[in-house]
């Protein structure tokens, strides 16, 4: 397979670098017709089998809406979301050439747009991440996804280690050290596509009465506060956080929690054995590992306890603490309360009883926590839910656009009416039936705010004690 930057041409022909760039772009990703005609015009490398394998690869790539590629600054492939990175070695070569050409003129390549397709480059020396999206996602969104993938790589290797490796050997094939973690990246990308927590920079909490949550938190705190060098404790049920405790002066960043959630929800083996794993939390400290004691509370309670320490000799201490926590929780009925909360249907929006309101996202900005009620009719299919998430995504990026102080957005779309409402403490994104009026929508905000006052104790975690 031969990929061309630019094209073959008679030596005398005039051309310029701009066309070079736009053609690279066409040939690489966007337009098979252009690449075909270019191939036909070049006698030297065009052989039918070469053209066809080239086209087959790009046809396959074009079937997917979103691609993520990771390569080293030497242009060696590290990760691709779809397909076999070995077969795409030329494509990776092309990417590094694009980055390199731009760097050579003291510039940085950030993104290339062609029609509906957007190609975003994130240069995190010694890695380069490339995202290709055909679903007109905003640039910031794709860049954030790439940053998440980068953070996930840091979480397995640490930044110190990564830099050291490539400092010693620029030609290092990082796949050697990444084996096994590709799966985590796959899952993380899916998370960034589906989870409102990623859009809102927030976490979702397991709904439970605040009295039960306090009791659970207190039980964990009592054990953890005695242990030197223990920094964080988290209790998690599936995608939701039940409780957090932390060492004085330290806090967990949302994106680090997302990485932890992804690790736990992507690893079945944690369910069967208590585990001790090094994990770097890039936002907390990208230079070194935290050590995580990860275990599910009990056979009959599928909540996962994560205890994070800086001390790699602490396994037995933490194992002991976990045992005590479970015992205590069994005695004081906490296990039962967790099970009930997991089994219980999440609060449906119908309980708020607001006419015309179909769905919403509610973010408590001070806590970086959100509530996303279950999707109900008419959002019955994955596709419809995905579409609604794209609408939310666009509203969220408008409300949070840097330097802009937009507080309210009212949008009447063909299938729904949207209202985005931002205050100092809350971001609210509501989906109404198509013909709901502005007045009706703003009344709904008042009504919902009143209702939330009663419910927020169970929806959010307000008590995050320190030790």
């Amino acid at each position: 397979m031969v990929n061309k930057i630019g094209y073959d041409m008679e030596e005398t022909q005039e051309t310029d670098t701009t066309t070079l760039i736009s053609d690279i772009n066409d040939i690489a990703i966007q337009d098979p017709v252009v690449s075909k005609s270019v191939t036909e015009n070049e006698p030297v490398p065009s052989s039918s089998e070469q053209g066809s394998s080239y086209e087959i690869l790009f046809d396959q790539l074009k079937e997917k809406n979103k691609h993520i590629f990771v390569l080293s600054t030497a242009g060696k492939p590290i990760y691709t979301r779809f397909g076999n990175e070995n077969q795409m070695a030329s494509l990776f070569g092309l990417m590094i050439a694009l980055v390199s050409v731009t760097q050579d003129s003291n510039d940085t390549l950030q993104s290339i747009c062609c029609g509906q397709t957007r190609i975003v480059f994130l240069n995190k020396d010694p890695l380069i991440l490339v995202g290709v999206s055909q679903s007109s996602e905003p640039y910031d969104q794709i860049k954030k996804q790439l940053t998440y993938v980068y953070n996930n790589i840091i979480s397995t290797l640490t930044l110190t280690q990564l830099k050291k490796i490539f400092h010693n050997r620029t030609n290092f094939d990082l796949r050697r050290l990444m084996s096994g973690s590709e799966r985590l990246i796959d899952k993380l990308i899916t998370f960034t596509e589906n989870d409102p927590g990623f859009l809102l920079d927030s976490i979702s909490c397991l709904q439970m009465p605040s009295s039960s949550r306090d009791k659970i938190t207190q039980t964990i705190l009592t054990q953890c506060s005695k242990i030197k060098n223990l920094v964080f404790g988290l209790l998690i049920a599936q995608k939701h956080v039940i409780s957090i405790v932390r060492m004085k002066k330290y806090s967990l960043h949302v994106s680090d929690i997302h990485l932890i959630l992804n690790l736990i929800n992507s690893t079945e083996s944690f369910k069967t054995a208590e585990s001790w794993t090094p994990i770097c939390l890039p936002t907390f400290d990208s230079s070194g590992y935290m050590h995580a004691h990860i275990s599910y509370l009990a056979e009959d309670c599928q909540a996962c306890l994560v205890l994070l320490t800086i001390d790699h000799n602490l396994f037995f201490t933490l194992s002991d603490a976990k045992r005590k926590i479970t015992e205590k929780m069994r005695c004081n009925d906490c296990l039962h309360a967790i099970n009930e909360a997991i089994i219980r249907q999440p609060i449906s929006l119908a309980r708020a009883n607001i006419t015309g309101l179909r769905h919403l996202l509610y973010k408590n900005k001070n806590r970086s926590q959100h509530w996303c009620p279950p999707f109900t009719s008419p959002y019955n299919t994955d596709e419809l839910q995905q579409n609604l998430m794209s609408v939310y995504c666009s509203l969220i990026s408008q409300i949070n656009f840097p330097g802009r102080t937009l507080k309210v957005i009212f949008q009447q779309l063909t299938a729904e009416t949207m209202l985005a409402w931002a205050t100092e403490d809350v971001e609210l994104y509501m989906t109404f039936e198509p013909l709901v009026s502005k007045e009706c929508a703003t009344n709904a905000v008042t009504k919902l705010t009143q209702w939330m006052k009663k419910e927020e104790d169970s929806l959010f975690i307000f008590n995050i004690p320190m030790f």
Partner: protein
């Protein structure tokens, strides 16, 4: 370990215009040759999987357009290709092997080898330049009007720490397979010569949350 067998090698092909770099690549990958000459603008990329000893190796071969001859820059500066000469340092960085090609019927292209070698070492700045694997190919041995003798080429290779030398014909597929096999093997030696990075980094120091990242109350802290 399965991944131990998966290796990707970055190979760069350099040499004057029209010495047959594209043809060599094309012969190697597609077993095809054409006499028609077209200059490469920008760069070509090629991927080929080969077995070297017991390992499956993917070769990522890049051939930047030659641009001005580094030795005789004044001549080439007029050709209009100079705008494409530079793909930037990053293009060369982390290469595992560099293939230098000249045309045995063109003494000028042979003289340029020094320049291409230096150019590569400057751009790629490998950690051990004296032992970086270059492979030298004297192409077009099928032609009658030979102007660079085997002995002369071998002497030059010898003077550069004994670089492997092959005389090839992209047109008649002479030695092309063997040359690339050597390229893969030499590159692999360079790549696999790596200590394992398994030592643990230092323990994180808790400095009382003085660093910005760790202090509470910042944006997006869940606490």
């Amino acid at each position: 370990m399965a991944t131990r067998k998966k290796v990707l090698l970055k190979v760069i092909i350099l040499g004057d215009s029209s010495v047959g770099k594209t043809s060599l690549m094309n012969q190697y990958v597609n077993k095809k040759f054409t006499n028609q000459y077209k200059a490469t603008i920008g760069a070509d990329f090629l991927t080929k999987e080969v077995m070297v000893d017991d390992r499956i190796v993917t070769m990522q071969v890049s051939k930047p357009a030659p641009g001005p001859n580094p030795l005789c820059a004044s001549i080439w500066d007029t050709a209009g290709q100079e705008r494409f000469q530079s793909l930037g340092v990053a293009f060369y960085r982390g290469a595992d092997c560099c293939v230098l090609v000249f045309d045995v019927t063109s003494p000028g292209s042979f003289k340029s080898l020094d320049g291409w070698r230096d150019e590569f070492l400057i751009q790629a700045s490998p950690s051990d330049p004296d032992h970086f694997p270059f492979v030298v190919l004297g192409n077009k041995v099928d032609l009658d009007n030979r102007a660079v003798s085997t002995k002369r080429a071998q002497q030059w290779c010898q003077s550069k720490n004994g670089l492997p030398y092959f005389e090839t014909s992209a047109k008649e597929a002479v030695n092309v397979e063997q040359a690339f096999k050597t390229i893969a093997r030499n590159a692999l030696a360079q790549e696999s010569d790596v200590e394992l990075y398994n030592e643990f980094p230092d323990q994180i120091k808790l400095d009382g949350g003085s660093s910005d990242n760790r202090s509470s109350g910042g944006d997006n802290c869940a606490c």
